[in-house]
Assembly symmetry: C2
DNA sequence: AGAACAGGAAACCGATCGGTTTCCTGGATG
DNA sequence: CATCCAGGAAACCGATCGGTTTCCTGTTCT
């Protein structure tokens, strides 16, 4: 048996597959679907030979990169499952995270929204993965809204999803720097929904 | 002197430039930056020869198409300047328009946001045009918010811009069908801003 | 040590792209 | 009628793309 997984943290020593997915996630985000496979492989330090015996196509690499990255992003975005926070704070937590991410000058918006916008085809593998990731967030919003006992949890969840996508998009295209904007907007909507309770 | 502008409405008789910009706007929206120049010219019924003596590059065509389309879209989106509507109704008018547009199964989100997302380069000619168009909308929001006398017109304007971009994006990627969602969300934010007055 | 193999470097291939050029036609001008 | 020219069809060109193949090196297993 061969030693597949290198010791964690050894930079150049990750498996070719992981290096490839890392570079794919990064480059796809920064440069879009257009980046040539050569550039991708060069950045990953992986030969095209290896890439094509690991994946069927460039598109498959992107889909896999998006899929592998989703759990980490969701985990980073959502509050810890067991905490002393109430539903309202748990909801706002997501928007604080968003604003935190958007503070980076390299922020280019939600990678999953971008993926769906760029590859217009909703049946594209990467698009399907992205849609699933996006649904996870609305599901969280809805569950918390329900827990908060608001009158129309589904409405509030969809509203918050709109705010999330709008804020991330606008931050990504440099139209806004949302210092407190996302949190404030979400809070207003949450409070309005609770008043109608 | 030659007759340049054909009689309005005669389908195949528009000037090559107009046919080109029409096709460019349409194809760029539906297919993205990737469409080949051949496809663009074929759809426009224009030879590449004509295209390249009218424009410097494919990118220039896109920028010009976006620029030419902006006034019409803004005019369609905004309420008539002289009307009996109050600021609140004038603001909501935009979101009614958005929902109306999003009802089409061909709706793919705000073309200007999409442009900026696809061509990541903010210095790209088309990106600059798109940014300007987007700014017009926020300016309208701010002006109306001011007219309504809300405490923080700039905050409300930015919030509404977030809702606009979020709703259009989500409708475009098929994540939501916003039946009343955009209007309801905007109304909630407007009313909350007025209460703080 | 020798064999087997994972995997990087790079040549290679056909298709396609953005852009240029050549050629030709049909309608306006004198 | 002779001319002119805007503009479409299409050949063409070099660059680049996605994908395949060949070759070779360093490591691991026996």
């Amino acid at each position: 048996m061969t030693t597949k997984k290198a010791a964690a943290g050894t930079p150049g020593k990750a498996t070719p597959r992981d290096r490839l997915l890392d570079a794919a996630g990064e480059l796809f985000y920064r440069e879009g679907v257009g980046i040539p496979t050569d550039a991708l492989c060069k950045a990953a330090g992986v030969s095209k030979r290896s890439m094509y015996q690991l994946f069927d196509s460039k598109d498959a690499v992107f889909a896999a990169a998006l899929e592998r990255g989703a759990p980490a992003l969701v985990a980073w975005l959502l509050p810890p499952p067991e905490g002393e926070l109430g539903p309202r704070e748990r909801l706002l937590y997501v928007f604080e995270r968003l604003e935190q991410a958007a503070r980076s000058p390299n922020y280019l918006g939600c990678p999953y929204a971008a993926a769906q916008v760029e590859l217009k085809d909703p049946s594209h593998a990467a698009s399907v993965v992205a849609a699933r990731a996006k649904r996870q967030l609305v599901d969280f919003f809805r569950a918390e809204a329900q827990r908060a006992g608001v009158a129309e949890p589904d409405l509030l969840a969809r509203q918050l999803a709109v705010v999330y996508d709008g804020a991330s998009t606008r931050a990504g295209i440099g139209a806004d720097d949302l210092r407190g904007l996302a949190v404030a907007t979400a809070a207003t909507l949450i409070d309005a929904a609770r008043l109608a309770e």
